[in-house]
Symmetry: C2
Subunit: 277 residues, 2 copies
């Protein structure tokens, strides 16, 4: 660490951009873009299903690549879809239809979409293989299933503050206790094969999220400090007895210190697959 921590350095920007809003197709679905662009060139009226779209920022970003196409975006939470709808309107994107749906029971006919996309969805599921089967069902023959999921164990960051190491351990414990998959990234090929896909129809790569500039550190560190301090995150830490009150404070403070450290950075690793149906 070559710089000292200053609370004032980050506070004004603390909540300007949430991490979910930071996500775009360029930083979170780059592995899909060349294929999407090729397919759009051949067939501009492409249909794309975005499963578990959350706040819909990647969805709106994908829509730019298919101005004559149509996106259907689903999420299990109708509350988050209200946010996603409003984000799309603000972004001036008109070709997205939002619909509440469960990934295990997608309310669409077989062979409906040219591309089915999901980002950071299967890692939250107890049965990712069933999700792939369902996503493949609604994909047209010769269509594409595109999916990116994190390996929560694979973090690369500096400085290695004890409070951040503690936070990382809590994050993994909460994810496991909630029935999620901590190592989804490298498991995706395996799940796709279990869902009946021949290996040669799968292209597997890896991507990263990297936060290094002050603005990036505010987005990432700010969203994680917030998880420790308010809402579901801090509630779960207490419920599961993962940390004392003092440790909870230490974790939040560690993210603040990390944000305020000029040479800090944080990288996380994600698996990516393209499945040709």
């Amino acid at each position: 660490m070559t710089s000292t921590y200053s609370k004032d350095a980050y506070l004004p920007g603390y909540n300007q951009v949430s991490h979910h809003e930071w996500r775009t197709s360029e930083n979170s679905a780059a592995y899909l873009l060349p294929t999407l662009q090729t397919r759009v060139k051949g067939f501009p009226a492409l249909t794309l299903l975005d499963v578990g779209c959350g706040s819909g920022t990647i969805t709106a970003s994908l829509a730019k690549y298919m101005p004559e196409g149509t996106i259907t975006a689903t999420d299990i939470s109708s509350e988050i879809l209200t946010k996603a709808r409003s984000f799309a309107t603000k972004a001036g994107v008109g070709n997205i239809h939002f619909r509440t749906a469960d990934v295990y029971h997608l309310p669409f006919e077989d062979n409906t979409f040219d591309i089915v996309h999901a980002s950071m969805v299967l890692s939250h599921l107890s049965d990712p293989v069933a999700a792939y089967k369902e996503m493949l069902r609604v994909t047209k023959p010769n269509g594409i299933v595109a999916n990116r999921e994190s390996d929560l164990t694979a973090w690369s960051y500096y400085p290695r503050l004890p409070g951040i190491e503690k936070f990382h351990a809590c994050l993994l414990a909460i994810h496991e206790a909630s029935g999620g998959q901590t190592e989804a990234g490298p498991r995706m090929v395996s799940w796709a094969i279990e869902a009946g896909v021949p290996r040669e129809k799968i292209t597997a790569t890896m991507g990263t999220w990297m936060y290094a500039t002050l603005e990036e550190r505010r987005v990432w560190g700010g969203s994680l400090a917030e998880r420790v301090r308010v809402g579901e995150g801090t509630k779960r830490i207490r419920e599961l007895g993962l940390a004392t009150e003092e440790e909870i404070r230490e974790m939040g403070d560690a993210w603040d210190e990390w944000i305020g450290t000029e040479d800090a950075c944080h990288g996380s690793m994600h698996g990516e697959i393209l499945i040709r149906k």
Copy 2:
């Protein structure tokens, strides 16, 4: 694991391509290519120094992007430069000059090169800050220093065979015992600032190597199995008392099993920086 291990599945291809030969500018220096292409467009007779070029495959690959430019490629080992020279000749690349040199004492005037590149070099050094200072010294004002280094701790892979976990622990222990940097990737911004670079002149990203197809698994798993079985690697494991003979066999066998597993994959995470001098 959905497939069973078959020794015959990988053996024929075992040593067809070494991992060093697999490296190209596209899979190992993609973060530099847009900048390189822009600079070449403005000034085709660009000069590039490739520090610690090793077997020179990335060097030869970079040369394709600057047909009217000149590359100088150095390495501390004159033996490996013989291989690199022969690789360049075979690849039909004529604009690379090879020269034995120590990264701490580069035999060039100040402000000589438009771009100075190093891949997986600083992680082997005890004083990476001194290396940055020396690389910056020989870079022209407004030139670029480009560097990619791994975070050896951040592996994302499947299946998590105990023999591979053991291998990973040995790799880290050997690297540390040799005075190298196991977590170079996320430290590079910090080192550059220590070398006197203002933060705003640094762009930091992260990249990955990913091995998932049978051919890729042969390249990666084959090179690591070889390290356990012959040469410097196995010698160091014994010298440092990191594993018993049985464990050494287990580690080699684990890589064989991994290569033969249809849904296996392995990702590693690397820091990347571009410094504008």
